[in-house]
Symmetry: D3
Subunit: 152 residues, 6 copies
């Protein structure tokens, strides 16, 4: 059976940490879908078109990577695209507790498992919400995001 | 002296994890008040009438349990109803740090102690905010909430 | 039914933090047994007779407190003395994770619940192993232990 | 070279925990700037004038302490005022993970280091957001804030 | 390329939690090697022959699972058996921090990645060292270990 | 007053993470004493002469750094050498809880404060005990220790 993993997130923006998780996943999965979750009750700093274009550009040479938007439960989207696993990165113990709850509840309602990678050491401090704060205040974000010019 | 414990929360919704905490508390307290805290600056997914009715139904056979709403400091409500203890459940270390701060500050301003139960293993991943997310997206919540039909 | 709680530990030594947990427990339980666990594979800094005498002295005016030694599973000792609950103090999130595992496993093999108090803020840093290190190096331990002269 | 440290925060309100961090910092730095960060996307409970006046009053006898407002990246403000270090207090492991990310990202974009003090044991439970909750509900906050009357 | 994962541990004993990690891994890997690490400076409660026999019995119907002993660095054993990934289970945030250090250091010296599964909720409290304590004191361990009679 | 900081540890071995903490400290302190603690109840992998020589070599061009051995309470050694502060590095939340207890207890018995630096991101996974494990098994440790040949 083909192994398909869904890497879901809001990716506002997609960081070097996210990028590394996708590269690790490619060694384990036949196909990796990067799913940009859309939540109508949230506002995003970067435009959905820009975020999608940015991620597509980063993986344009990786045919096993596909970028999709979704606006439903993550596990429902897994079923729609035939993904057997959810993929998540873990940075620190704060991440861990929250991800554990989501993984268990996802498994309970759907039987879909989550597989975790620990974020590369050099990217383990990268946090999308702090990047947004830096960006809003005119600071440089290229240490944390590849090709940030695609987001503007 | 009669031992009365207050189990406060927003219970949006009241989960199987909360339910288990009340059952454990009944072995230790003569009376357990489930206090639904109302914060006028917050919005809730489930209606206060529905939440109250739901919890009452779950404990209708337990005369030692009473369900009340309150809109004041938790420790002030304790004094109003004669509760000597606040009761809280702990799921994970993220919970713990926050609950520790609240328990210490409550004790400082009122002298009221907090007693903790660790959430049943099978319910330790249940998180009201993730339940709301599942519910909003049309997913099933009956694995996490007893008689969820009473909330609609 | 009489509410009896067992507060188990090696108490090497019994600290002001432990002392506060017993005082809190007395408001909730009819009887509190302080159980000094003896593990033949461990070595202790303070003599078992001294530790037992020290704790007895601290609670000599509290008839609801009893001090006992035990050399068996904690939950087996609970059954022997008729305790319905294990009592534990929690200082920090490191404590929490370990105590959670023990509490769940105790419940699984015996049905006995554990109830937790968060250590008083002023005693939350007190750690028996650091006290032993200070004591061995000739430092003062009276800030952490009441009547430490009884241990010598 | 003169050692100047910036202690940034929203200080809504400035607590006894914050106060202790400044006192510790004075033993290590030649000058300590307390920087009240202003974020136009946030709302504050206490007025900026009141917060500034309150902090100034608390340190009026300490010529090495200066109180300033800033509305830019923390590290940009460091450069503007010539601060070589950011100063932060740590209460618990939840704080720690977040502060670690900010400290690493600040270092990456500016080369400025962060130095940490662990909050005094007696103030380690003090949390500005819980203080605000108590204040809004008419509870006493003088156990957590020196001269709270200056904030009204 | 064939995907081979190494699940290393001392497995003293191999718990239901470990068992679940292997079953999850089988959905992702073509072959799963359970590697019993032997450290000559440690003593084990259960005999290596018994531990090996026990694990082999549990997976006798799973041809994709192989049980091996090893006495070298985990990443050196990976290379010897052709494993591309180390597999680990995560129970709680205490586990996480330690596993993160090992995973990063393993990657640094060998380029081998670690993939993580979060332990099944119902097994998340299971801890081999507490099982040993229960076993030594004559308590029942069949709630935590499948076919414990094979270990004696 | 001259600012002298003591950076205590067993340094078995002294890692690149420790090295970075000393470099950061030099920007804040006039003098940094690296104190190799000797505990007669512990055994070390690397010889004390080798450890001391190794650290001295690493800082031979830094006149503000001094390397000393000590066999007493850390705070007693501070007083002996005139250090006003203890310096510690923090890697993760597991470190944090333990360091917090030690820092509070040190302050209680001596009035000496501890100042913390967060370990450089690229060294945050480095753990002396894992390095020892790698070394014992013949693996390379030069990614974690500068000039490891000096330790042999």
């Amino acid at each position: 059976m083909k192994k398909i993993g869904l890497f879901p997130g809001s990716f506002d923006p997609f960081t070097k940490g996210h990028e590394a998780v996708v590269h690790k996943s490619l060694d384990l999965f036949d196909e990796v879908i990067i799913g940009i979750g859309i939540n109508s009750r949230k506002t995003y700093l970067f435009d959905i078109e820009k975020r999608e274009g940015h991620i597509k550009e980063l993986f344009k040479d990786k045919p096993a990577v596909r970028v999709e938007r979704f606006q439903m439960l993550t596990v429902d989207f897994c079923k729609e695209i035939g993904a057997n696993f959810v993929i998540r990165g873990l940075r620190d113990s704060k991440d861990f507790e929250y991800e554990k709850s989501i993984a268990h509840m996802n498994f309970t309602i759907s039987g879909i498992e989550t597989v975790f990678f620990i974020t590369d050491q050099s990217y383990s401090a990268i946090n999308s919400s702090i990047i947004r704060e830096i960006y809003i205040n005119g600071g440089p974000i290229d240490a944390f995001v590849t090709k940030p010019e695609l987001l503007v």
